[in-house]
């Protein structure tokens, strides 16, 4: 308990005690003149100075001094600062947020046990009026329970929690903790961060400061010099065009510890069967690759797994992947009936040597083209031929509208390239060819490298289109909806894309037969043609593995079978999780998504694919394997709230109700009343003393 004053400056008023002292030492002259019959005798008495006086009327003097002291004390607003009063004002109830890291790294040996033990100790320390919320976090955070003081509920929440394969991100957890604490009406706020302080989880966010007054404490469950070796990735290569059933797996192993690992046994499993094993050495803080001999895989989606042994963090010791069957893109080349076979040579050969995907090229002429020829095709190349008329033309248009790809290669037989009426506006106008023979031909000088088609060529050494010389090309006026992707050096259009319905139509204005240009003999020709085929066929390479935490759009661009139409949205998809759980994803009209919560293989089945389910491999985020710890003070210093005591003092005033404030400051009332009582007594006493003193004849008093 301490005694203080709200307005200590008023204590200077104690100097006013000198006033009654002076009054009682000196004899104040009355304002009224005292009439006296004769000063004959008074005149004869020698004058005395005040210094020779002494205090008169001790009781009156003491009363006056006490009145001054009490008044000064009352105005100084004394405070009786007792801990009990403060507690009563602020209360002792705490809002505790226990931030429990359950990222993949918490699966390292012993960490999770230590973390849960620390959380339970914190729960045991809760008072009856305290509330706690357990926030489980990895790359995202969730409150596992409503704020409660029920220790049993909190403990069961801790017991039910398990490390997830997700990576660590402190930001969402701290944001959630801040939200919870800010919303709390309890007077004390505390946050307990239980984590292994992985450096990869903290990007130094400056705006994640806990609410003022929050007491932040941490529990570091990490170990010094933790050694972790992880299987961080793999790539699968088909053996080639001869044996498409063989694949070569290249695994990547990372050593994220400070100690080199020798004789690390790495095994390759296909369909849960170990098919190969190698022993490698991985340097400290380094990585190594391991290439396994080609293995045969069935012509379906096959589960593969890289596995290493003897590690403290088992979740990243396995790398799961899927070996997808080779994909083939059916392409139909439709040429002019009068075209020679050599004119198609470069294009056909370029497409035939492609793999991943491979292209199944069929060739026909416009004369023989039937509507049925378009069935099952991904791309139709209208090679130097007029657009088919009649039903076939309509079928081709519909093919494009339904999502197919159309590449129109303009040549000498194209003529005016009369489009169907419904496409004439969108596909634009083809004019007569332009010769560039006099200047050694033109070049393609403007490419839209941000377009998906040319994106692979945008990197250094990605392909040199400027080597190709273009001696003749059609002047092409794109349609209203067309996008020009490439232009010649004179500004003429080289390649334009026009969306038609769900499909894509492209117009190449200079032929692909080494006559109007020499592009087919340039190195960039092959990848360019392949890229055209992939783009027009909407080919997307299926990832061999996903990262846990990713969300897969089962109906959209992340369709599980890119070479096939997306999953029938009306079908129910049954998902079998790596842990063996099953759940159904109902068709609901919107894009259906699947969040990969576990690591391992997800199996997706529909009624049609019940026997050959879609396999999705999910692995922990490789960055989570880096156990390099963060200095806890770096994190806590960045997020710690303003000084808790300072804030608590500031909150005290704000938290006190007016009644409590009055109670704290009520002392001055009592003192003031005492002062008034003393003053009344002084008045009575002074009056009594004064009444006993004759002042003079009434007639002389004024």
């Amino acid at each position: 308990m301490s005694f203080s004053f709200l307005a200590p400056l008023f204590l200077a008023g104690f100097a006013a005690v000198a006033i009654p002292i002076v009054i009682h030492l000196t004899h104040r002259e009355r304002r009224q003149t005292v009439a006296f019959p004769s000063l004959m005798f008074v005149r004869r008495v020698p004058f005395r100075t005040v210094r020779r006086q002494r205090i008169r009327h001790w009781l009156l003097f003491l009363l006056r001094a006490a009145a001054v002291i009490l008044l000064v004390a009352a105005f100084a607003r004394p405070l009786l600062d007792t801990p009990g009063l403060e507690s009563a004002a602020l209360g002792t109830a705490r809002e505790v947020v226990i931030l429990l890291d359950r990222s993949s790294s918490m699966g390292f040996e012993g960490r999770w046990t230590r973390a849960t033990d620390a959380a339970k100790r914190a729960i045991d320390g809760l008072g009856p009026s305290d509330r706690a919320t357990i926030v489980l976090f990895a790359d995202r955070a969730e409150a596992a329970n409503q704020a409660t003081s029920n220790a049993a509920v909190l403990r069961s929440t801790i017991d039910a929690a398990r490390p997830s394969p997700r990576r660590t991100q402190y930001g969402p957890a701290l944001q959630l903790a801040r939200d919870i604490l800010e919303a709390s009406e309890l007077p004390r706020r505390e946050a307990l961060l239980i984590t292994d302080f992985q450096r990869v989880g903290w990007q130094g966010q400056q705006d994640l400061r806990l609410p003022d007054g929050t007491a932040l404490s941490t529990v570091d469950v990490s170990e010094e010099d933790a050694v972790n070796v992880a299987a961080t990735g793999a790539s699968v290569e088909r053996a080639g065009t001869q044996d498409r059933s063989s694949v070569t797996v290249l695994g990547r192993i990372a050593n994220l510890g400070a100690t080199a690992v020798a004789d690390l046994n790495v095994t390759l499993e296909i369909d849960s069967r170990e098919v190969a094993a190698q022993t490698i050495a991985v340097p400290a803080n380094g990585a190594a690759s391991v290439r396994f001999a080609a293995v045969s895989v069935p012509d379906r989606e096959t589960r593969g797994r890289l596995r290493i042994r003897g590690d403290g963090l088992p979740t990243d010791d396995d790398f799961h992947f899927v070996v997808a069957p080779p994909q083939t893109m059916p392409i139909l080349i439709v040429h002019h009936p009068g075209a020679r076979a050599s004119e198609l040579l470069y294009l056909r050969e370029a497409l035939s040597i492609g793999f991943d995907p491979s292209f199944d090229v069929s060739v026909t002429s416009t004369a023989r083209l039937a509507a049925g020829d378009l069935a099952g095709r991904a791309v139709v190349v209208l090679y130097d031929a007029p657009y088919p008329q009649g039903a076939v033309g309509g079928r081709l248009t519909q093919f494009v509208r339904d999502g197919g790809g159309l590449l129109v290669v303009l040549g000498r037989r194209t003529g005016g390239a009369a489009w169907p009426s419904e496409l004439s506006e969108s596909l634009g106008t083809v004019n007569s060819p332009t010769d560039r023979l006099d200047a050694r031909g033109g070049t393609v000088s403007i490419l839209d490298y941000e377009h998906a088609l040319f994106e692979p060529f945008g990197t250094p050494r990605g392909g040199d289109f400027s080597a190709g010389r273009f001696f003749r090309y059609h002047r092409y006026q794109p349609g209203s909806t067309s996008v020009v992707l490439a232009r010649f050096d004179d500004g003429a259009v080289a390649l334009a894309e026009t969306p038609v319905g769900d499909g894509r139509a492209m117009v190449w204005t200079s032929g692909l037969d080494n006559q109007w240009n020499n592009l087919p003999v340039q190195p960039v020709f092959l990848p360019f043609v392949h890229q055209l085929g992939r783009y027009l066929s909407r080919y997307r390479q299926t990832p061999i593995a996903y990262v846990a935490g990713q969300v897969i759009d089962l109906d959209g661009d992340d369709a599980l079978s890119p070479q096939q139409p997306a999953q029938d949205a009306s079908e129910e998809i049954v998902v079998e999780t790596p842990a063996g759980g099953r759940f159904a994803i109902e068709p609901d009209g919107d894009n259906r998504t699947l969040e990969l919560e576990e690591h391992g293989f997800y199996l997706l089945r529909t009624l049609e694919t019940a026997d050959a389910p879609k396999v999705i491999a999910a692995n922990p985020d490789p960055v989570e394997s880096d156990l390099t710890p963060l200095d806890p003070e770096e994190l806590t210093g960045a997020i710690a709230a303003r000084d808790a005591e300072e804030q608590r003092t500031a909150e005290l005033a704000a938290a006190l109700t007016p009644v409590q404030k009055e109670r704290r400051q009520g002392l001055w009332w009592y003192i003031l009343i005492a002062a008034l009582f003393v003053l009344v007594s002084e008045t009575l006493l002074a009056g009594r003393l004064t009444r006993g003193k004759p002042l003079g004849p009434r007639s002389a008093e004024t």
Binding site: T26, R30, T33, V34, P37, M40, V45, P697, A700
Partner: protein, 297 residues
């Protein structure tokens, strides 16, 4: 109800009529004494003395001349009614009062009572009021009681006090020997006072001095420092009463003692009155002393 209750100066101050007041006091007082032996009848024979040139021949006792053939003059105790004159100091200082009855009031009571008393004795009564000069003069006469009372009634304290000049003038005015009652607070040098009074006594007057003071003048009970103003001169002085109370008392006591001594030497009858003392007590004190002195005489 005891009549002495009315002799309290405070009570008497409530009586507006001095006539009534004097009658109340004197009658009650006389009733208490039953008999007044001091003044008596003044026609009693005292002695014979030889005729001296200048004596009124009407006073020659012819019977004695017939028997002895010598002229003798008859002497009476009082050959006629005595003159009783009040010399009233009405200077401003007499107006002082600390408890309701001023010295002027107190003197007024005394003067009225004694005038009435004297008139009861068939004396002639008169009054002279003075401050630094004679203000009112009422010659002694058997018919002047009312005038005397009226004069006493309208007395006002004013002016500076002095003894020399007014009493000298009084000595010249008074032709007959009289009983002179001087009522004053005697703020004057004792020697000066006595000198002035002695001049009256030498002319055959019987001088009685009533020294009237207020209790506050005696005790000086003031406590707080203040400007003290002299009622007569208007002079002001800063006074710290506490510091000079003792010395003031000593000076006053010395003053009174000086008056007592000097007046005793000059056969002046001196009486001190405190205005808080009952009036009958004052009268009794006075008459008792007069009786003792007359016997001695």
């Amino acid at each position: 109800m005891s009549t002495t209750r009315f002799l309290d100066p405070h009570v008497l101050a409530r009586i507006n009529s001095l006539d009534l007041l004097a009658r109340t006091v004197v009658d009650g007082f006389i009733n208490g004494l039953h008999h007044s032996p001091y003044f008596g009848l003044s026609v009693d024979f005292a002695e014979h003395r030889p005729y001296m040139p200048g004596d009124d021949i009407r006073r020659v006792d012819w019977r004695v001349f017939g028997r002895t053939d010598r002229f003798y003059v008859k002497e009476f105790e009082a050959d006629t009614n005595a003159n009783f004159s009040v010399l009233f100091d009405v200077s401003a200082s007499m107006g002082y009062s600390s408890h309701g009855v001023s010295k002027l009031d107190y003197g007024r009571f005394l003067a009225a009572c004694l005038a009435y008393f004297s008139r009861q004795q068939r004396d002639r009564v008169g009054i002279v009021t003075f401050s630094d000069d004679v203000i009112d003069y009422v010659p002694c006469s058997a018919k002047h009681l009312e005038i005397v009372l009226h004069t006493i009634d309208r007395l006002e304290a004013r002016g500076r006090g002095s003894f020399e000049a007014p009493l000298l003038k009084v000595a010249e005015i008074l032709r007959r020997r009289s009983i002179l009652l001087v009522i004053s607070d005697l703020y004057e040098d004792p020697a000066t006072i006595v000198r002035a009074l002695d001049r009256l006594r030498h002319k055959g007057n019987d001088v009685i001095v009533f020294h009237v003071l207020d209790p506050a003048e005696v005790e000086f009970p003031f406590d707080e420092a203040a400007q003290f103003e002299d009622l007569e001169t208007g002079e002001r002085m800063p006074v710290v009463p506490e510091t000079l109370r003792e010395e003031y008392g000593a000076l006053l006591a010395a003053h009174r003692q000086s008056l007592i001594d000097l007046m005793a030497q000059h056969q002046l009858d001196y009486h001190f009155f405190d205005t808080s003392a009952p009036l009958d007590y004052a009268l009794f004190e006075y008459l008792s002393r007069r009786e003792r002195m007359s016997r001695v005489r």
